[in-house]
């Protein structure tokens, strides 16, 4: 219980807080980090049912223990890396905005803890990812992590993952 509260206060402190844990993953040559608390689980890519007339990066829906969950391929969405689907393909199941969805990435690396000093603001640049979704750039040894506000990204109207009404809410 005490630990939970501890964690809670850390989340409450937000990204500017002292310590944050991030799950890191790769897309092409780039390394990204997302708030670990948004991650529900990590699983393989399997049994995806296609949805006709959906955007190309929405691979379809899967059955996650009785819940229908949409799968987004970030490699297609941001044109990074080669979309390959085999036993090594990884899906990160996220819990964002009260919804469950899966995102396909090239690989999951590890969980790292960053303190505020290790996070630098992202400069304005023409990246695949609009800077409005980037919390900052994290540095661990000689690795650079692009820290993404995954909730903001996934609920964005352009992702076409939710009804526009739900996005506005």
């Amino acid at each position: 219980m005490g630990q939970m509260e501890d964690m809670g206060s850390r989340i409450a402190a937000g990204v500017t807080g002292e310590l944050n844990e991030f799950l890191t993953f790769t897309l092409g040559a780039e390394e990204y980090g997302i708030d670990i608390l948004k991650v529900k689980e990590i699983r393989g890519y399997d049994a995806v049912t296609r949805i006709a007339n959906a955007p190309e990066y929405i691979k379809g829906v899967i059955n996650l223990r009785g819940t229908i969950v949409p799968i987004v391929d970030m490699r297609i969405r941001f044109r990074l890396g080669e979309p390959r689907y085999d036993q090594f393909t990884v899906v990160i199941i996220l819990n964002v905005a009260g919804r469950v969805l899966g995102m396909v990435v090239d690989g999951v690396s590890d969980v790292i803890t960053l303190n505020a000093g290790q996070v630098k603001p992202a400069p304005e640049f023409g990246a695949a990812l609009d800077t409005q979704y980037i919390i900052g750039l994290g540095t661990v040894e000689d690795r650079m992590l692009i820290l993404v506000d995954i909730e903001k990204l996934m609920t964005d109207g352009e992702m076409a993952l939710m009804e526009s009404a739900a996005v506005a809410a």
Binding site: T49, I51, V61, I62, N63, G66, T67, I68, P70, E163
Partner: protein, 691 residues
């Protein structure tokens, strides 16, 4: 004195809002109960027990609304209670205007409740109804000789409304002296009254710590302390009478167990405890005098003898989901086991058979939790009929058959409105005025029969009246006037179906009951949207019967699984008419674009699903594909699919929960192999293909 006003602010020591929902639910139940009982009262020979039951329901609402600070409801129920109290004591004879006024008071209360719930913003003006109740109840009481002067000493509980208590006490007699409440919430009230101890106990218990109450007699001699019947004036805090806890009145029975009821703030523990005790005591106190006054009859719970618990629908749905998963896992396991065992391992195969049976039983039991009896819908009609009949000057008797037939909660909620329309229509258009009926050799009062029963996997609901029936020539004339294609050669059945056309009403004049012609088409649309169907039978001079067929549940559906471009889809079986292999049958084009096929001298539009779901045309394959003829809104369409997979009962899951609406798809389901299959929305799909 007024500083003890019980408002939500005063009660903030414990978070009251968590109990609001309990109060709202209970109050709604008590209101419904009151209405049922009121409608059953025969003014000529009122049943003492039902008068008591009505009084108790009103009292429970008053107590709850006072505690939670909903003063408007408390004031109105207070007036209603005053009248009811006199009625049950036989000081007044119940009359029809009284029943009407009390019913109206119930309506106003319901509106107030809706406002507190945040369901409506409308301000409710209760003043007129309060005045009318007051007038009805205000025949003065003959002062009785046996007045005693009592001195009441007690400690107020934290939530008590002292003013209301005083108002309550003053109805028993005259308040002569008054001290307090002081800082310790101790009060002393002098009361000159002829009321017996039980009366006083009921009043006091709502606001005072039971253990703190002391009563001494300063006037004539009396020995209230010795009264063994109530034990009220002793210091024993135990419930007055060891009646079993009654779910109908256990207003707060689940409150002490509710999360956080033991109070987040330590300071509140004491008041919470006394509050909990008071609330469980309350029903006993109320029912005790009622039981005695109700002579030999036992106090009967208005909710019947079935005990129940209140559970959130989301919890039930979660349970249904989990069981659905279990069924799929079990199916996968038994497939694997069948391959593995192949006659060698008998233990394994018997174990798997047991597992399968248990899983199926479990699924059935869990699904039945969501089922509610039809009485949830039927119960609203006695009142509606009473009002309607009075307004139209007709006499209508209501018969309900099969109220215990169970139906999924989701369907029940959606069927209530269409049922309303049908019943209104029957009374307004079907059943004649008494003199017309007598002239036609029928009894003056018409009979409206509501019947529900199971038939196969469906539930059938009938609304039947013994009125004048539909008028064929009138409907045909009306249809011609509206430019519909009709002919005298049409069968009765076809003619009757015309009344489901939009804007169709044959009523000579528009009343505010019905006749505007918005209704039957909406009824039909709503029922079709539930996957059901409507039929109509009518015989001139003998009546009309509307037959509504509905699936038992929205969560489970009969579907046909088909394959299109390697993906599995489900077509709701309800919309499938027939299956055909086009073979040599030629698919022709109309003006180079739309394609049609001739099926039994009917030209049906052809929709290729692989085109709709894939985007490219593959006309070359059309001959190998299978045609599924579906019917939507009376129009048939031929769907071309690649392969027929099978027929299943599928559990319908929402796509919107985590994703969004997909055009032409109504939901999703999980197949036996654990994969997701999308369920087609045939109506939307056909529309989609046309554009």
């Amino acid at each position: 004195m007024s500083s003890t006003q019980s408002t939500p602010g005063n009660a903030s020591a414990i978070d009251m809002s968590q109990f609001f929902q309990v109060f709202f639910d209970e109050a709604a139940e008590h209101l419904a109960d009151m209405e049922t009982q009121l409608l059953a009262v025969d003014p000529a020979e009122p049943d003492a027990e039902s008068l008591n039951a009505i009084f108790r329901a009103a009292h429970s609402i008053k107590g709850g609304s006072g505690t939670f600070g909903f003063t408007d409801m408390a004031e109105l129920t207070h007036e209603a209670e005053t009248l009811l109290d006199r009625l049950r004591k036989r000081e007044l004879q119940i009359t029809v205007p009284m029943i009407d006024t009390l019913l109206e008071a119930g309506d106003v209360l319901r509106a107030q409740l809706a406002r507190h719930r945040g369901e409506s913003r409308e301000q409710v003006d209760a003043a007129p109804i309060v005045r009318r109740l007051n007038a009805l109840a205000s025949e003065t009481n003959e002062p009785q000789a046996a007045a005693r002067s009592l001195s009441l000493q007690f400690t107020l509980i934290a939530q008590a409304n002292f003013d209301m208590l005083l108002a309550d006490l003053s109805r028993l007699g005259e308040i002569t002296t008054l001290q307090g409440p002081d800082a310790g919430r101790n009060c002393k009230v002098g009361l000159l009254t002829d009321a017996d101890d039980a009366e006083i106990s009921v009043r006091l218990r709502t606001a005072a710590e039971p253990a703190s109450i002391q009563v001494s007699v300063s006037g004539q001699e009396s020995a209230p302390v010795a009264d063994p019947g109530y034990g009220f004036f002793s210091d024993d805090p135990a419930p007055v009478r060891a009646e079993p806890a009654d779910p109908g009145y256990g207003f707060f029975t689940d409150a002490p167990a509710a999360p956080g009821a033991s109070a987040p703030h330590a300071a509140a523990t004491e008041s919470a405890a006394s509050w909990g005790r008071r609330s469980t005591d309350d029903p006993n106190v109320v029912t005790a005098p009622a039981g005695r006054r109700g002579s030999d009859k036992q106090v009967v719970s208005p909710n019947g003898d079935s005990s129940s618990i209140r559970v959130g629908v989301d919890k039930v749905d979660q349970l249904i989901n989990l069981v659905g998963e279990l069924v799929i896992t079990q199916a996968m396991l038994s497939q694997k086991a069948a391959r593995l065992a192949a006659g060698e391992n008998v233990d394994l195969s018997t174990g798997m058979a047991d597992l399968e049976r248990n899983t199926r039983d479990l699924q059935e039991s869990v699904m039945s939790i969501r089922m509610l009896p039809m009485s949830f819908v039927f119960n609203r009609f006695p009142r509606m009929l009473r009002d309607l009949a009075a307004k139209l000057g007709k006499q209508v008797e209501l018969k309900t058959i099969g109220e215990q037939t169970e139906l999924d909660k989701g369907v029940i909620e959606k069927i209530a409105d269409p049922m309303n329309h049908l019943v209104r229509n029957s009374v307004d258009h079907g059943i004649e005025l008494p003199e017309e009926r007598l002239a036609a050799g029928k009894p003056a009062h018409g009979t409206l029969t509501l019947r529900a029963y199971h038939q196969g996997g469906n539930i059938v609901i009938e609304v039947a009246d013994d009125g004048k029936g539909l008028d064929r020539s009138k409907i045909l004339a009306k249809a011609t006037e509206r430019g519909l294609k009709v002919s005298e050669a049409m069968s009765d059945q076809e003619v009757w179906l015309l009344i489901f056309e939009p804007g169709f009403s044959t009523a000579d004049k528009v009343t505010d009951v019905s006749g505007r012609g918005v209704g039957m088409d909406v009824v039909k649309k709503n029922i079709l949207a539930l996957g059901g169907s409507v039929e109509l039978e009518s015989a001139t001079g003998h009546g009309t019967r509307v037959i509504v067929r509905l699936p038992l549940t929205l969560a489970i559906m009969d579907g046909m699984s088909i394959a299109v471009r390697g993906d599995t889809y489900i077509i709701p079986l309800a919309s499938v008419v027939e299956l055909l292999q086009p073979g040599s049958r030629e698919i022709k084009t109309v003006s180079g674009q739309g394609r049609v096929v001739e099926v039994r001298s009917e030209y049906l539009p052809v929709v290729s699903l692989s085109e709709v779901f894939g985007g490219e045309s593959r006309e070359a394959d059309d001959k190998e594909s299978i045609m599924v003829i579906v019917e939507v809104d009376g129009a048939k369409t031929a769907l071309l699919v690649d392969e027929l997979v099978g027929q299943h009962q599928v559990v319908v899951k929402s796509l919107e929960a985590n994703y969004r609406r997909i055009p032409g798809i109504s939901g999703a389901t999980i197949m036996g192999d654990g994969r997701v299959a999308l369920i087609m929305d045939i109506a939307a799909l056909v529309k989609l293909a046309r554009h």
